[in-house]
Symmetry: C2
């Protein structure tokens, strides 16, 4: 890759790292708004999603300019197309954080999550934070060793997702149908969020190694 070319692309990947920070902060604050029934925080997350959408559009525009003006091919093209797809995944992660915040807002002033499941959602929120922060590091440093960590966090979120399913279906579930549905949808938002982070990591690994990354299984 020529150095003039790399100079153009570095800001794009820099912007992607910045978006992971916003997307991480969005999910973090969405989790807090959910667990505390904090309406103002939920509204802030919902409002801030527009900024994530603007930044991902900006990355897309830069990529199109690079393709149109620089005619990259081979590895260079893979890097630009990779950036486009990473931007799409990050935008979707922002949407999922917004979904969590909307759920918090919808049930306000009630708390959407029964007391005994607070810890599980706090754990999911913590795992989501770890995943997205490591995803940012993978993009920034191209250090693909972190991919294994990210895959492990994803497995853990999947386990919690299944566990929540089991809990809401137990005869002892006393919170009714609405709470069961809320828990199921919320849990799915975290699970999809983690899947997208894994997918971003796979893109980076493919860019760095030139080979599709099969170490992380997505379904």
């Amino acid at each position: 890759m020529t150095s003039a070319y790399a100079e153009q692309l570095d800001p794009v990947y820099g912007e992607l790292v910045q978006i992971t920070t916003l997307v991480g902060s969005a999910m973090n604050r969405a989790t807090q708004s959910l667990l505390d029934a904090d309406l103002a925080m939920a509204e802030a997350v919902i409002d801030a999603d527009a900024q994530i959408d603007t930044l991902t559009s900006d990355v897309e525009d830069r990529c199109f300019d690079i393709i149109a003006l620089q005619h990259p091919d081979g590895e260079a093209l893979r890097v630009v197309i990779g950036a486009l797809r990473i931007a799409a995944s990050l935008e979707r992660m922002g949407d999922l954080a917004e979904h969590v915040a909307k759920q918090a807002r919808m049930r306000y002033p009630r708390i959407s999550v029964p007391l005994e499941l607070r810890a599980t959602f706090a754990e999911m929120g913590g795992l989501a934070e770890a995943i997205v922060s490591k995803t940012g590091s993978v993009i920034a440093t191209k250090d693909v060793a972190l991919a294994a960590d990210i895959a492990r966090h994803d497995v853990e979120i999947d386990r919690l997702h299944r566990e929540l399913f089991t809990i809401v279906l137990m005869p002892s579930w006393s919170h009714g149908v609405e709470a069961a549905i809320d828990v199921t949808l919320l849990s799915r938002y975290y699970e999809r969020y983690a899947d997208h982070a894994v997918s971003v990591t796979r893109r980076v690994v493919t860019i760095v190694t030139g080979e599709p990354y099969v170490g992380v299984s997505l379904n």
Copy 2:
């Protein structure tokens, strides 16, 4: 766009139309497997998803080759990038049909959907079929007038989605928590499927008009 270039791109859009047919058939058969608790049909849908994934990968490879070898810019680049994104949406629609089929398989030999909601899911399946078939026509003919129809079907699916939410939360709901969750998740799969079809239509409209299409609202 040069004619040699258009010759290369026509097969790509032809392949996208072919994929809409597969994705439509997948959702159609998934709905049938759901309403009839037809295990063999559910398995067939699940197995067939690999073919959709292979075809979308094939479209991506062709687009990369075109970008790398032909150096498109301006309108031509927009058309190639559009094809990449349409492929990604169609692949996801295939996944959502597979999710419906997996739900049918999971509850087999029981039927996942209570008797009184069969008609609603049959209607959602019918709308999904109409949407994907018109999406295929939009790609094939670039006739963006169909976009209004597609948006109308999407509004109708959203209405059914909300209606199902209301029904599972009524005091008269007698099927328990598991069935309520099944209905909610299934309903969400159809709603997301329709959203992706709308998103494909928006891409085509953008390609044809050169302007972002704001007539269809996605959230």
